[in-house]
Structures are given as C-alpha cells and as structure tokens.
C-alpha cells in the first residue's frame, strides 16, 4: 500500500538563515498514528506547516494521498485537517458559525447533521451558540479540533495537542484520536513528551535540530528509551568498586559517595533487587536511593551518537 504522506529530501531555511529542516525523508502509512517526537525548536512545526501549505519548502517534495502539495494543492489540502499549536480563533464568532465556515472554506457542501455529530462528539453541542471568546481554553481547543475535522479530512495533523490541556480533555482527545483511527483517518501528532508518544502512537519519529534521527515502531523505540539509572547514596564512601559487584557494571561517583547502576526498566530482570541483596550481604550500607530516567535530551544525544557510530 503506498504511503498516505510521502516526504522526500525536505529542507527549509528561513530568511533569517536558520535551517529548520535539513533533508527529511519520511513516509506515513495509511491509517496509523504517527508521533513526531522532539524538543522545542527541532523542526516539528515547520515540517507540519510545509505539508499543510503554510510554509514554503526550500527544497524537496511532499505528497498527500498521491497529490503533490504544491502542484496539486487543492486535492492535497482537501484531504488534510490541521490543529495548530496556538489557540487562534475568531473570538467574536459563534462555535457553530466558525465550524460551518471551516467546512465551506474547504469546499464541502453544507451538512448540518455531520457538524452536529462532530460538536456532540467533542462536547461542544451545548456551546454551539456561544461566542468563542466566552469559552475556556480547553473548550477553545475543542473548537480548533472541530474546525480541523469539519471537512472530513483523511489525514489529521495535531501540533502539540496536549500542551496546556487538562486531564479530562487529554483523555477525551485520546478517545477521539483512537475513534478517528478506527474510521481510517491517519493521524500525525507532534509532542515533546515521551509518555504521549508512548501512549498513543503506532510509530514514532524522533526529530532533532532539523534531522529525523530515527523512525521506528513504538515498541522498538521504547526499549531504547527505557534506560534508567539507579543512584545509591552510600553510608561510607568506597575507594573502588568491590569485585563482587562486577556483574552489575556499577560505577562510583561523587568521590566514592555514590554508586550508580544503569538498567533497562522494560527488561524482565532489571538486576536491581539482586544488586541490593548482594550489597546487603557485603555490608555496604546506603542512606538513600533514587532512580532517574534519562532526559529526552540525553536520549537524543544517545541516538545521534549511535547514528554517527553506525555511519
């Protein structure tokens, strides 16, 4: 099956000279939920904006459902819905008016029954006559989603959908996204939270500094991202790692006051309980302990160096 979105050799250098994308190749499969994971400024929004026609690419091609997004923009854009990161709405319009407007803008004939269902699904039906400026932030975000879905797109882009969103809306949004996927809609979301990608996506692409570092099935990537570190604050400083602990590849830090052990949190045997038992047997006491997950930045650094090593 051909990809629903095909991106080839995409670059974007802004007028300021900033290179936001440095040659991105990416195929999105039909019907999947794809998470684009990366820190702020990695190029996620630029990538989405080019596909949707808001930003002009410096070079490279993008096609949506087989239509080039520049040459055949009408056909391409009709298939795409976009929920941008910022809450930008026509404050003085009513919910119903703004959603009807969006549907018309995309060239779709009026369909009140469809819009009613859409607003009901998003818990907006009771607010349909309210002006947007009267709504809460969460409600405004629902309106943005309703606008993006008003023309029945086959591809939906969600740019940082859960930034500043409360728990209830986040849950509703996940249900909505899963419901759309069941209907065959392809969903591409950007996020800088690993948990979000983990919870939602079928596949994950990691982008950093304008380059797509890795694209993988979520389960594969999560294994790589599952590294954790255990730090033990020792009661008495150690001069060297006792040979009895060699099996765990532990290291000393903070002048021998800390013992560190890196482990895979997703593994069946993490090695943590046995390490602690062995230490008790050896009479090495500790005052405190904590585990930490590598930050996204650490993981990016790790992935980039892996990629360089492989090259």
């Amino acid at each position: 099956m051909p990809p629903v979105i095909s991106i080839q050799g995409l670059t974007k250098t802004y007028a300021s000279g900033f290179a936001a994308l440095k040659g991105v190749d990416l195929d999105i499969r039909r019907g999947e939920i794809f998470a684009l994971l990366g820190p702020n400024g990695a190029g996620k929004t630029t990538l989405i904006s080019i596909v949707c026609g808001i930003v002009t690419a410096s070079s490279g091609t993008v096609s949506a459902d087989g239509h080039d997004v520049v040459r055949d923009y009408r056909a391409a854009r009709t298939k795409i819905g976009l929920v941008p990161q910022e809450l930008t709405t026509d404050a003085f319009e009513s919910v119903w008016a703004t959603v009807s407007f969006s549907r018309g803008l995309f060239g779709k004939p009026r369909n009140d029954a469809f819009l009613e269902k859409l607003l009901r699904d998003l818990s907006l039906w009771d607010k349909r006559k309210s002006r947007i400026l009267e709504l809460s932030g969460g409600m405004k975000r629902r309106v943005m989603i309703a606008k993006a879905l008003s023309h029945e797109p086959e591809i939906l882009f969600l740019d940082e959908p859960t930034a500043g969103v409360d728990v209830e809306l986040r849950r509703d949004m996940w249900n909505l996204v899963l419901g759309l996927r069941d209907r065959g809609v392809t969903i591409i979301l950007t996020t800088h939270y690993i948990e979000e990608a983990e919870e939602m996506a079928d596949r994950v692409g990691v982008i950093s500094k304008g380059e797509l570092i890795v694209v993988e099935e979520k389960s594969e990537l999560m294994k790589k991202l599952g590294r954790k570190q255990l730090t033990l604050n020792l009661a008495e400083p150690l001069v060297a790692v006792p040979p009895e602990l060699a099996d765990w590849a532990v290291t000393l830090a903070a002048d021998g006051n800390e013992l560190r052990y890196a482990f895979d949190a997703n593994a069946e045997r993490t090695g943590v309980p046995s390490l602690l038992r062995r230490m008790t047997d050896l009479g090495i006491g500790f005052k405190d302990l904590h585990t930490s997950q590598s930050s996204l930045e650490d993981i990016f650094v790790g992935l980039v160096s892996q990629k360089k090593d492989a090259a």
Binding site: S49, Y73, G107
Partner: protein, 255 residues
Amino acid sequence: MGFNRRGVWAIYRFELARFGRTFLTSLITPAITTSLYFIVFGAAIGSRMTEIGGVPYGAFIVPGLMLLSMLTESISNASFGIYMPKWSGTIYELLSAPLSPFETVLAYVGAAATKSVLIAMVILATAHLFIDIDIVHPFWMVALLLLFAITFCLFGFVIGIWAKSFEQLQVIPLLIVTPLTFLGGVFYSIDMLPGIWRTVTLFNPVVYLISGFRWSFYGTGDVAIELSLAMTFGFLALCLAAVWLIFRTGYKLKA
C-alpha cells in the same frame, strides 16, 4: 474542483457578517457625514457660490463626497479584512485551505467592495434628500463606482498584507488618501485654482477619479473622461501587480 466557490462564499459571508455587526454605524455614519457636508457646504457656503460648469454647487459636490467616503472605506475594510487573520493567527486556516490566490482575493475584495458600494449608495440617497440629482450617464456612473471600489479594495488588501500594526493600517487612508481626495476637487473645480496650483493638482491621482465620476453625473469634468479611465486602469493594474507579487513570493503571508 476547478473553482472553490463554497470557499469563496464562506469568506464573503464571513466578511459581510463582520460588517453586519457594525451595520448601523457603518451606514448611518456616512449618511450623517453627508448631511453635515450639505449643511455646511450646501446651505451655508453653497448659497453664496454660483454654479460650477452649469451645475448647482450642492449637486456639484455629490460625486466627490461619495468618493471621499468610499475610497477611505474601501481601503480600511479590505485592509482590516486580511490584517485581522494575520494578527489573530487564524490565517493558518486560510493558507491551509484549498483556495487559489485568485479565489482568496475575490472573496476578500468582493466583500469589501460590496460594502463600499453600499456606503456610496447611502450617500447618494442622503444627498438626494437635499437636492435634485440627474445622472447623465447612469451606466458609466455604476461602472465607475464598481471600478473604483474594486481598485481601492485591492489597494487596501495590499496594505493589509503589508501592515505590521493597526497604526500602519490607518496611515495610508488617513494621511494620504483623505488629503488627496480633499485636494482632488471634491468641493471645487480645479479650474478655480490659481495657475501654478492647477498644474500641481494634476499630479494628484484622485483628481482624475473625481473628474471622471463627475462626468458620469453631469457630462463634464476637469479632465477628459478617457484620461480619467486610463489613470484608473493604471492604478488598478498596479494593485493587481502588487497582489500577484504577494502571492508569487508569499510576502508576509508565508515563511
């Protein structure tokens, strides 16, 4: 889909709805302003004026008064229409919609021009309450009205794209177009000016618009109608070229 008529219609309706929210002020203001002009210039000063070129003074100022409001309103409305989505950020939706540049301009300029023509008609109707007006070339009068409205709405569209602030939106209509219109012969014939000023005035493009429009009313103008038409089409061509360049380069619309 060769032409996204529903998209054009959606924007056109949206823009007219925006005008609709200020419907009364939009249409009562020109009516009141026109009445004031008639009281001041028609009754107070006009009674001491002789006819100009065989036209009573009160009737003489009507075409100029219509343009005085219409030109500034066209620029303000059209510039505001496209500036607002830029300012609020909702432009993302417009840019991601399956609309061609032509359709976008047609919708915004069409809506603004509709309002401009309505305002001009309100002024004409108000003037009619004060004086008798016989229009010699009604077809040309309507044609010129539409042509001016479209041209200045295009100009406004360009300003709306160019402007970075609300202040910049106001600068051109208030500081350039209004003075040029006032000095363009709304209240006098340029033949009444002393020699050197008559020559200077001919550099004011609005003179040609008012003269041409007055010709459609009374059959006479300060300059030949052909020259008026040529100037108008010249300005229209300039505005179209600017709009074409904007969409060609993405100027201030797309990064």
